[in-house]
């Protein structure tokens, strides 16, 4: 009897603690967002969620840098004018690339007064954060996170700046077909190596579907695990045995580099290697790490626009951080700019009103390449998001498709 009384008392205490903690969290959130329409606010906080440490740290840190550059640019230009020149502030959270750490950080940022969130580089993490944002009624603008499923849940508070995996896969097949046709190559079948992750799998599915529409097929599709692939000689032998001369790759940096090395080592004769949403074939480091400087390698992915703003951003980034810009930095920049535009239009730092303003936004044209100003569909997809095809030509990552963005002419066969 005594035991059960103790247990009961303990249980009550625990519940009370949780309830109190919940109250204090809610109070803090209320305090942070007290600035209602018309009130003059000194600062507006945006929470960023990126992997600053862990295996994606290179991209995560670059994206933080990009977001910070947007905040600095807006503040330098006088802040949010409709809020009396309120300054933006970036509250940076390290997700470590895992959903649980990201959730903790997101809750902290929201309770510290963040009126919107950006992030998170990983689709798995964004899936969790989008649910959290919906519940907390705080807008969440994804910079990088490709999985289609994130925006198929009927969420109202989640938006995505980058093209979805399906869009990248489809546009990738279009680019391959267009480049081959332009060079007089009749493409009938391709081989495809892709990571087992959800994002890469949807890339392959979308690519294969669009390929069929364009008159060629994915002949040999081989899935691998990017976490353990350090050598792809067997996969390349499979491609060789199947007689595929064009190879499509969707992977991360280290595994895509391993594939490039295995291609060089095996001496297979390929017409082209085409990355689709690939993490290596348009990176500066690939130029130094790959055999023969990666010459001839293609990639289809989101990219920094050829526009003056886009090029200025790349130059400024290089000057400020002394390292070549990654596209993720531009997408994070755009995510902050879209939120700022929403703040400007709504004249309010209330997250619910901000959400409505972002959903109706079409005044900001991104520095990442798109077909026009960023505007969101009812599910939150950026309807203007586009990809470009790049090729490494003469030791430089050169845009070769579409024509209006191109800075060089595609070479096909590439080697």
């Amino acid at each position: 009897m005594k035991k059960s009384v103790t247990a009961l008392a303990l249980g009550t205490a625990v519940i009370a603690t949780i309830a109190l903690a919940g109250c204090s969290g809610a109070a803090a959130a209320g305090g942070g967002t007290a600035a209602k329409s018309g009130t003059k606010v000194d600062k507006v906080v945006i929470g960023s969620l990126h992997p600053e440490t862990g295996s994606s740290a290179a991209d995560g840190q670059a994206m933080d840098n990009g977001a910070q550059m947007a905040v600095d640019a807006i503040n330098k230009a006088g802040g949010i004018k409709s809020l009396g020149g309120a300054k933006l502030e970036l509250d940076k959270g390290d997700t470590k690339g895992t959903p649980d750490v990201a959730s903790t950080e997101a809750n902290r940022e929201i309770s510290d007064g963040a009126v919107a969130l950006i992030g998170t580089y990983a689709s798995g993490v964004s899936t969790t954060i989008s649910a959290l944002a919906e519940k907390a009624q705080v807008p969440f603008v994804m910079d990088i996170s490709a999985a289609d499923s994130i925006l198929q849940q009927g969420y109202k508070y989640s938006f995505r700046v980058q093209p979805s995996a399906t869009a990248i896969g489809t546009q990738g097949a279009d680019a391959v077909a267009a480049i081959a046709a332009k060079n007089g190559v009749k493409l009938s079948k391709v081989g495809y190596l892709y990571d087992q992750g959800a994002g890469e799998t949807s890339l392959e599915v979308a690519f294969a579907k669009e390929a069929k529409a364009k008159g060629f097929t994915v002949d040999t599709a081989i899935k691998y695990d990017s976490m353990s692939l350090t050598d792809a000689t067997t996969q390349i032998a499979q491609i060789k045995a199947a007689g595929d001369t064009t190879l499509i790759v969707s992977g991360y940096y280290a595994d895509s580099l391993a594939i490039a090395k295995s291609i060089a080592a095996s001496g297979i004769k390929l017409d082209a290697v085409f990355g689709v949403g690939d993490g290596a074939y348009d990176q500066q480091t690939f130029l130094t790490d790959a055999p023969n400087g990666g010459e001839g390698y293609y990639n289809t992915n989101y990219a920094i626009a050829k526009s003056a703003e886009g090029q200025q951003f790349a130059t400024d980034y290089q000057a400020k951080f002394n390292t070549p810009v990654r596209t993720g930095a531009a997408l994070a920049y755009d995510a902050v700019q879209v939120i700022a535009a929403g703040l400007e239009d709504s004249g309010s730092a209330d997250p619910v009103k901000l959400r409505d303003a972002i959903a109706a936004e079409k005044s900001y044209t991104g520095i990442a390449f798109g077909s026009g100003p960023i505007a969101f569909s009812s599910t939150g997809e950026n309807t203007s998001a586009r990809t470009v095809a790049t090729q490494i030509l003469g030791g430089k990552v050169t845009v070769v498709y579409p024509d209006d963005q191109a800075t060089g002419t595609a070479k096909f066969p590439a080697f």
Partner: protein, 341 residues
């Protein structure tokens, strides 16, 4: 008791495979049967892979790649199995120590202009010292405590190392280029020279570690501590020093592994993590604490990955590795070469 007497006694009761015991096993039915079964299973799987792919070339390449990768895996698992066999420490910092070794190799080659294999002369002693210091100052103080204390220390070390490297080296990938590297064709299969050297290095390391453990007085003392720490201390072995020495040898093994794989591995602060899981599988498959078992375990994992990748192209190769892992543990709970307790 002299060392010789001790050695004789250990010949009968050692927990680590003593030379005689191994010789008996080698000649004994069980060892031959194990190897035989392993080879037959791999041959059957290879034939299935051939039927699925319709291409002997692909299977041949898979076997070569599997063996070469297996060599790399066992190389990385060597330090892990040694630390477990003697110290009974599950070293979660194995992967981060590998990363540290990779960056040391990178510094030696890139900044100091050393030839990638000459860098062994720098990386091995450096990692040996790192291992010794780790054991002396971090692990020895908790050696008498519960085993999860040591585990937690190694996890802490792993997190600390990884983030320290991130802080100093930054997140961007770096790489070590092998001058006069390249590849050749072995009956149609591509053999990368860097990987071949690592493969040879793995076998050399198994031989070297076995010789040290079996033939030297120090090795005898190490095995004595592994078998019975109290008994070893009663006959005058300084246990704490042997712990330090063992972890130092483990560090040296990781240093050698890091330098040998550096020429074909993209290096980032989390590269070691990639191998961590595989290394544990290799060690458990081969029998915890068994150096030669780690070599065979590495080959089994390497071949499984490659052949299963052909048979089930739509599945992650890692799935097959774990299926094999579970089957082996079901039949042989102490690993392929583990001894019954």
């Amino acid at each position: 008791m002299t060392m010789t007497q001790l050695d004789e006694r250990l010949g009968e009761t050692s927990v680590l495979p003593a030379a005689r015991r191994r010789l008996h096993e080698l000649l004994g039915q069980r060892f031959v049967r194990t190897i035989g079964v392993t080879v037959i299973v791999i041959a059957v799987v290879a034939i299935i892979a051939g039927l699925v792919s319709h291409s002997p070339d692909v299977v041949w390449q898979a076997i070569i790649t599997g063996l070469l990768n297996g060599g790399v895996y066992s190389l990385i698992a060597m330090g892990l199995t040694l630390a477990y066999g003697v110290l009974h420490i599950i070293n979660f910092a194995n992967g981060s120590m590998l990363t540290l070794g990779l960056y040391l190799a990178y510094v030696a080659v890139h900044d100091w202009g050393m030839q990638p294999y000459v860098a062994l002369l720098f990386v091995i002693p450096a990692m040996m010292a790192f291992g010794a210091l780790t054991q002396k100052f971090l692990l020895n103080p908790v050696m008498n405590g519960a085993s999860h204390n040591q585990l937690l220390v190694t996890i802490g070390l792993a997190v600390g190392l990884e983030n320290l490297i991130l802080l100093i080296a930054g997140p961007n990938p770096v790489s070590v280029t092998l001058p006069h590297g390249g590849s050749f064709s072995l009956f149609g299969a591509t053999v990368d020279l860097g990987r071949l050297y690592a493969f040879v290095g793995a076998i050399a390391m198994v031989v070297l570690l076995s010789l040290i453990l079996q033939k030297t007085p120090v090795g005898t003392a190490v095995r004595a501590v592994a078998a019975n720490p109290v008994g070893a201390s009663l006959v005058g072995v300084n246990i704490k020093n042997i712990y330090v020495l063992t972890f130092a040898i483990g560090g040296a093994a990781i240093g050698a592994a890091a330098t040998l794989i550096a020429p074909f591995q993209s290096i980032t602060p989390t590269t070691g993590d990639v191998f961590n899981l595989t290394a544990f599988v290799v060690v458990v498959l081969g029998g915890m604490g068994n150096v030669a078992g780690a070599l065979v375990g590495g080959f089994v994992v390497g071949l499984t990955e490659q052949l299963a990748g052909i048979i089930f192209p739509e599945q992650s190769p890692l799935l097959s590795v774990f299926v094999v892992f579970l089957i082996v543990l079901f039949i042989r709970p102490r690993g392929v070469f583990g001894r019954a307790s």
